[in-house]
């Protein structure tokens, strides 16, 4: 059996999306910035794509900027808000400790340029509250940027409430919704969102294309300088196949949320319950305010990369927040942010499932994971010490 359970990393491009993209390679290949007839045909397709994306999140078409993906959208949203703030002498930004690096590294850069950054603590269940945001806002605050749903532990934040606080305090609010768009219903107006980032490949669209939604009236700063595309705010010839694909993907995903979610949630809950039967295992992220397809657990006494390699041999494709998979010496900053100690954070497993997965696959994953965890624990000196009482269990 081969089971792809890494949909938070990226998803399979849907067949309808591929079919929608293909004509833009060899039929409607003209540049939408060209004045001739085929160019204008491409421009019409671009307009339709913009309308489709806008509609899915309750925005207006002129509030949609196409980018190269979620990272670029995050960069542009944050830098833009920072520049607006700077022009008014407001140099304080609020975010959280468990954002994606596209956000955190952009904030690091701004900090070096003199901005003051407050990273809110994340509660053990992977949540931040609107109250925390309210307490952190001061007269100097120019931006609050908090992710809609966390990419590792799946917790969905109280975005509408946070947005309301920002609105009341007259502070710009950006949310990295890369993991949420196409998986939960989002309405930017209703949820008081000023700026939002998304990425097509997380909802069965192509890789390398995304969108920054920025409410009318927010002056954007360019990340990419050049031609006059996207009202001069994002240069570069439009990636028409990808943009057309993204438009189809977002509509398909948003239309399917209500029918797909119950099945995905049921599989997710089965997986969570099955994995929590393994002794000394803990769930990461809130049990209920959670992305439909996200499962993330820590197993005491084992390390994540070896766990992934073993599961891979069983045909299960997942991910982990261990140091060895993050490419640095520290395990996932997300797990550390929710207070998991290093030794536990190294033993994490993320399974991100989708509508295409099946109930049988969940049984198979549970069965194999149980075996693999036991096998690795049996060769772990940490586990022997725990069993002998020479070391105390972190996870009861």
């Amino acid at each position: 059996m081969n089971i792809y359970a890494d949909n938070a990393a990226t998803t399979k491009t849907s067949r309808t999306v591929i079919d929608a993209m293909l004509p833009y390679f060899d039929k409607f290949y003209a540049n939408p910035s060209s004045l001739h007839t085929p160019g204008q045909e491409a421009m019409e397709a671009l307009t339709r794509a913009r309308e489709a994306v806008a509609k899915c999140i309750g925005a207006k078409p002129n509030e949609i900027i196409f980018t190269s993906g979620g990272s670029e959208a995050d960069n542009q949203a944050i830098v833009s808000a920072a520049m607006i703030g700077k022009s008014k002498g407001k140099m304080h930004i609020i975010s959280t400790a468990f954002e994606h690096h596209a956000v955190l590294h952009t904030l690091d850069k701004l900090e070096k340029e003199g901005f003051k950054i407050t990273l809110l603590d994340v509660h053990e269940n992977g949540m931040v509250s609107a109250e925390q945001v309210r307490e952190a806002i001061c007269d100097d605050t120019c931006l609050v940027t908090i992710m809609y749903a966390n990419n590792e532990i799946g917790s969905i934040q109280p975005i509408k409430e946070i947005g309301a606080v920002c609105k009341e305090k007259n502070v710009l609010f950006h949310t990295d919704a890369v993991q949420a768009v196409g998986h939960v219903h989002i309405d930017v107006k209703d949820e008081n969102i000023d700026m939002l980032s998304m990425s097509a490949h997380k909802f069965h669209g192509p890789k390398g294309v995304g969108v920054l939604y920025a409410r009318t009236g927010i002056r954007l700063t360019n990340i990419i300088e050049g031609g006059a595309q996207e009202k001069g705010k994002r240069a570069g010839t439009h990636n028409m196949p990808a943009i057309a694909g993204m438009a189809v993907a977002i509509k398909e995903a948003c239309d399917a949320i209500d029918t797909h979610t119950p099945k995905i949630v049921k599989m997710r809950d089965k997986l969570i319950e099955g994995l929590l039967q393994i002794p000394h295992t803990v769930l990461n992220g809130d049990r209920y305010s959670r992305l439909p397809g996200n499962v993330n657990v820590c197993f005491e006494g084992i390390e994540g990369e070896s766990l992934l390699l073993m599961l891979d041999m069983d045909g299960i494709y997942a991910s982990s927040g261990s140091a060895c998979t993050s490419g640095s010496l520290d395990p996932s900053h997300v797990l550390l942010a929710i207070g998991r100690p290093h030794e536990i954070a190294h033993g994490s497993l993320r399974l991100s499932i989708d509508y295409d997965n099946t109930d049988e696959e969940m049984d198979y994953i549970i069965e194999k994971t149980k075996k693999v965890v036991e096998y690795l624990r049996n060769m772990s000196p940490v586990w022997s010490d725990l069993k002998k009482g020479k070391r105390e269990y972190v996870i009861q």
């Binding site: 140091a323 190294h346 022997s384």
Partner: protein, 141 residues
């Protein structure tokens, strides 16, 4: 593939996993905080390593390095085992990715540490030089 076939072979079928209850020397290096711990158990008879076992908490290359290192010194005189370098372990595995070399360093250290334990228990004299890898290996990472 991230890892060579040799690494995957030793990861999938690790040699010498386990513990030796009446070991003559035990060495444990690394810590759970940084994500890799190796523990080596030695049985030594007439200066020959007659049996060796390991327990490892760590990534694929940590497990493979432990397995390979134990294979390389099993049946060898203690003095030869002391000469085992992390490079030799990595080479025997047909190489490790650069950011995984620390796993082979850990294997070298674990063996040195187990031999030191054996020397200490048996009052065998040694100089500072004998176990210099234990003091320096972290800089080499």
């Amino acid at each position: 593939m991230l890892y060579s076939e040799k690494v995957m072979d030793h990861f999938k079928n690790p040699r010498n996993v386990g513990v030796i209850e009446d070991a003559d020397g035990i060495g444990e290096v690394g810590n759970a905080k940084c994500g890799d711990i190796m523990k080596i158990y030695l049985k030594i008879d007439n200066d020959i390593i007659t049996d060796i076992k390991f327990e490892t908490f760590g990534c694929g290359s940590a497990i493979a390095s432990s397995s390979m290192a134990t294979e390389l010194i099993k049946g060898k005189p203690v003095k030869d085992a002391l000469k085992l370098t992390n490079k030799a372990v990595a080479e025997a595995l047909d190489g490790l990715p650069p950011h995984k070399m620390h796993c082979s360093v850990l294997a070298e250290e674990a063996i040195s540490s187990a031999i030191k334990d054996y020397y200490d228990k048996n009052n065998i004299p040694y100089t500072d030089d004998t176990f210099k890898s234990l003091a320096h290996s972290h800089e080499e990472e």
